[in-house]
């Protein structure tokens, strides 16, 4: 189905279809003569690139907000004893750090990249549902302003961990919890709408001739992610609505005294929560699968198996949720089922890692900043995968569970996993967005500082956890002091080095070495056929997709 373009358009340009699909006149002719200026332009925009930028700026802002919360936590844990904050505030900080990073930093960053790049990668003029796109973005600032405002309410903000287990989050929760629920509802609606838009765009608006199996992997992984979002966000909405009822309307879904079951909460939460973990990593796989072939100057090894592996991971993600609950007292058969299914995830994930490594093998490799981050992703994500495999062994999980070993594990897959992939993507596509290359030296400096910082912060956590340090404690026994000292130093170093990232992005927007349409020698996908910077409107006439650009 072709999108409805303003009629004068298709008339004017039907004859000028070129591979790049870019109308020569640029944007001046576009019929929206009276485009609003200033704030209204951004409030009302329906352009996928502008909305993509809004998502990315929002995400970066929230990355720093969540980061500051993390630094409060790390500062308190710098040495044993209570020095800076009270346990009550400490719990609010750990909770808010998790919520903000998951829902306001990582997820919107991927949606921002999807907004920018999916239309460009499939040769579509915009997202399928532009006004919905605007709405799904503007829900986010409202949702998270509300969430952050709970910190200033009497009794404080959410203090029950980002997993908000009942009854700590219901009967024993602060009064602001109802606002937390409303904020999460809004963020959830935003995600669902964004996912619907992405699916509609990918399924309906690919350039003529582009089959599903021709799509770049970023598009594939996002398509699968969007289905995951639609499947599990309603489950989250359901579980927080049940909390809302328990808190305000006297129901007892999660209260054993009224016939409910606190463990039901965990089943529902993790039925959302585990796919959610993959929602935060599958698009990262897509980005890395674009960058590694580009800088190895060699086609991605095993394109088809990458697609199938992604699908397999997505399907398995619905069958493993209770591995987060190995110690709640599940029956033996359930433990065994979830242990086996979780171990099975290592197979498709392994396939992906092997494919990336084989893509590098006999390539012609250069180390521009996007590649550095992508390579770090492969190594450090794999380390996170290894600790994940260890956690899958249910008997061993009785020791690992709820310790810093788990904290180390999921930070390895989320920070040098998801976040490094996002940064790799930003460095990769910045020339397309701004028309300038990012400053190479500063970007490299950012990379090396981040690598050192991230490992210094999170590697010692493995040891702290194995030695017996539980999660989410504001003070700890003396034998954990050395590990925590290292982690805290690393965290402040890592946090500070992210200011370099802001500097690189700002400098790149303002100027720098000019980038041609095809900014990277080995790049192949459709986005590199439009000029750099990409004009506001691209592919107004669908490009003809050449099979040579295909992946098989």
């Amino acid at each position: 189905m072709a999108p409805k373009l303003p009629p004068q358009h298709s008339l004017q340009h039907s004859s000028s279809a070129v591979a790049g699909g870019q109308s020569q006149e640029g944007q001046s002719h576009y019929p929206h003569a009276a485009q609003p200026k200033g704030l209204m332009r951004w409030l009302l925009t329906t352009n996928h690139k502008e909305i993509g930028s809004l998502y990315l700026i929002f995400s970066l802002t929230m990355f720093f907000v969540g980061g500051i919360f993390a630094l409060v936590v790390r500062a308190e844990l710098f040495q044993p004893g209570l020095q800076l904050v009270e346990p009550e505030f400490f719990n609010q900080m750990t909770t808010m750090h998790g919520l903000i990073m998951v829902f306001a930093a990582v997820m919107p960053a991927f949606t921002g990249l999807a907004n920018w790049m999916i239309p460009l990668q499939i040769g579509a003029p915009d997202m399928a549902l532009p006004r919905l796109n605007n709405f799904s973005f503007w829900l986010l600032p409202v949702a998270f302003t509300l969430l952050l405002s709970t910190l200033f309410m009497p009794g404080g903000g959410p203090n029950f961990g980002w997993t908000f287990y009942a009854p700590l989050s219901t009967t024993y929760a602060p009064a602001s919890t109802t606002f937390f629920i409303l904020a999460l509802h809004m963020a959830g609606i935003s995600s669902i709408l964004g996912a619907i838009n992405i699916i509609a765009t990918i399924l309906n608006m690919r350039a003529p001739g582009m089959r599903m199996m021709d799509m770049p992997l970023f598009v594939w992984t996002w398509l699968i992610t969007a289905f995951l979002l639609i499947a599990v966000m309603p489950v989250l909405a359901g579980v927080i609505t049940m909390m809302l009822m328990d808190i305000n309307f006297g129901t007892s879904f999660f209260d054993a005294a009224g016939g409910g079951d606190p463990v039901l909460f965990q089943h529902l939460f993790w039925f959302f929560g585990h796919p959610e973990v993959y929602i935060m990593i599958l698009p990262a796989f897509g980005i890395v699968s674009a960058i590694i072939p580009t800088f190895a100057r060699k086609p991605l090894f095993g394109y088809a198996s990458m697609v199938y592996a992604t699908g397999a991971i997505a399907l398995l993600s619905f069958l493993v949720w209770a591995h987060h609950m190995f110690i709640v007292g599940l029956p033996l058969t359930a433990e065994l089922f979830f242990m086996y299914s979780t171990m099975l995830i290592a197979v498709p994930t392994g396939v992906k890692v092997f494919n990336w490594v084989t893509t590098l093998f006999r390539g012609s490799i250069s180390f521009e900043p996007p590649m550095l981050f992508a390579l770090a992703f492969v190594v450090l994500f794999t380390i996170g995968g290894f600790s994940g495999l260890m956690l899958a062994i249910a008997p061993a999980d009785f020791q690992y569970h709820d310790t810093y070993f788990v904290v180390a594990h999921f930070h390895y897959v989320l920070v040098p996993g998801a976040i490094f992939a996002i940064m790799a993507g930003v460095y990769y596509w910045l020339p397309k967005w701004t028309g300038h290359y990012p400053n190479e030296r500063l970007a490299q400096c950012h990379f090396w500082c981040s690598i050192i910082g991230v490992n210094l912060t999170f590697f010692p956590m493995h040891f702290a956890g194995l030695a017996g340090m539980p999660r989410r404690i504001p003070d700890y026994a003396l034998q954990f002091a050395d590990f925590n000292l290292l982690s805290s130093i690393g965290a402040f170093f890592f946090g500070a080095s992210q200011l370099l990232f802001v500097l690189v992005v700002v400098l790149c927007v303002r100027g720098g070495q000019k980038a041609p349409a095809k900014a990277w020698e080995g790049a192949v996908d459709l986005e590199w056929s439009v000029p750099s910077p990409a004009p506001l409107h691209t592919f107004e006439t669908p490009p003809v997709f050449h099979r040579a650009q295909s992946h098989d």
Binding site: P80, G81, Q83, P87, E88, P154, G155, N159, Y165, L168, Y172, D255, A256, A257, D261, P262, P299, L300, Y303, S305, I327, V328, G329, L332, L336, M339, Y340, V347, V351, V353, T359, L360, R362, G363, S364, I365, S366, V379, T382, I383, F386, I393, P395, A396, F398, Q399, D402, T403, F463, L466, A467, G468, P470, R472, I473, D475, A477, L478, A481, D552
Partner: protein, 371 residues
Amino acid sequence: MRLPWQWLLTITSVASLSQAHASSWNMPVGVTDTSRNIFGLHMTIFWVCVVIGVIVFGVMFYSLFRYRHSKGAKAARFHEHTSVEVLWTAIPILILVGMAVPATATLKNMYDASEADLDIMITGQQWRWRYEYLGEDIAYTSNLSTTREQIRGESERDEHYLLDVDEPLVLPINRKVRFLMTSDDVIHSWWVPELAVKQDTIPGFINENWVQINEPGIYRGQCAELCGVNHGFMPIVVHAMEEAEFETWLEERKEAAEQEAMGVDREWAIEELMARGEEVYQSICSSCHQGEGQGAPPAFPALAGNEQLINELDWHLDRVINGVSGAAMPAFRNTLNPVEIAAVVTYTRNAWGNETGDTVQPATVAERIAQ
């Protein structure tokens, strides 16, 4: 806090004596057969990961070094190879099956709590543990004994900072002990690494676990599930004794419990009640209502100068005995004995300027509970 050179020393000494220091960097081997099995699984899967990592990263870094664009490497064009892809799908499956077999056996064994010699009910409460020796008429709570001054850095932190309690759980070695675990409020998790027991305690539900300790000793752990503001301050200490020593301890505890039970019927003087009440208050109540009864509003109301408390003895007793539904205040009906409740109520009615002069007798409390 350590100085940088001390740090270097730590790192080098640990590196050179990694065997001796293993327990502070790695999972403890522990003192039960289960904990040894788990440690074995942990090390096996760890080495499997190390080997895979060395191979994968080895190929990767070799490629990065060998096929550099800057050294004029020309890229090959191959992009699939069916047999290789089948192989690297099949091999991991075989490795996983190899791991799953011993893991399944260990797990089956961990789930077999039958034929236990001793049953102990473990109840999590914000923020302490209650241990009840079923069939023995012994029950007590175990509270953090690290002082506030140590936490605030006003006095030297001792060796077992945050890992010490007033009354440890006492267990016999070489006997299978079954734990029945539940909670009075939120979900807690009872964890002692050296016993390899970690189990959530869930309000309204009873979980089962078991332990058979091989060596006498003192084993320390902590609550592992976020359970509110003092989650970091509810440690677990297990004192494992030779069987004969344990029997002696059991008899002494029973006698003490009988003594206490007889105390219910006699008249207590206010001084006695105040002294006992202060002990109970400091170990049970002060974590929420604070050391001087000043509370931490709005969650934890002040008791010092609390008008309703001062004026309404009946209301006060009811709150302590039955708790406040929907709020953090638990019912102490089953947790404290009548003497303790009478003492702590008397204490709070006469401490910190609450000069009511009231005394509450254990007999009165026992009557209230019986109603």
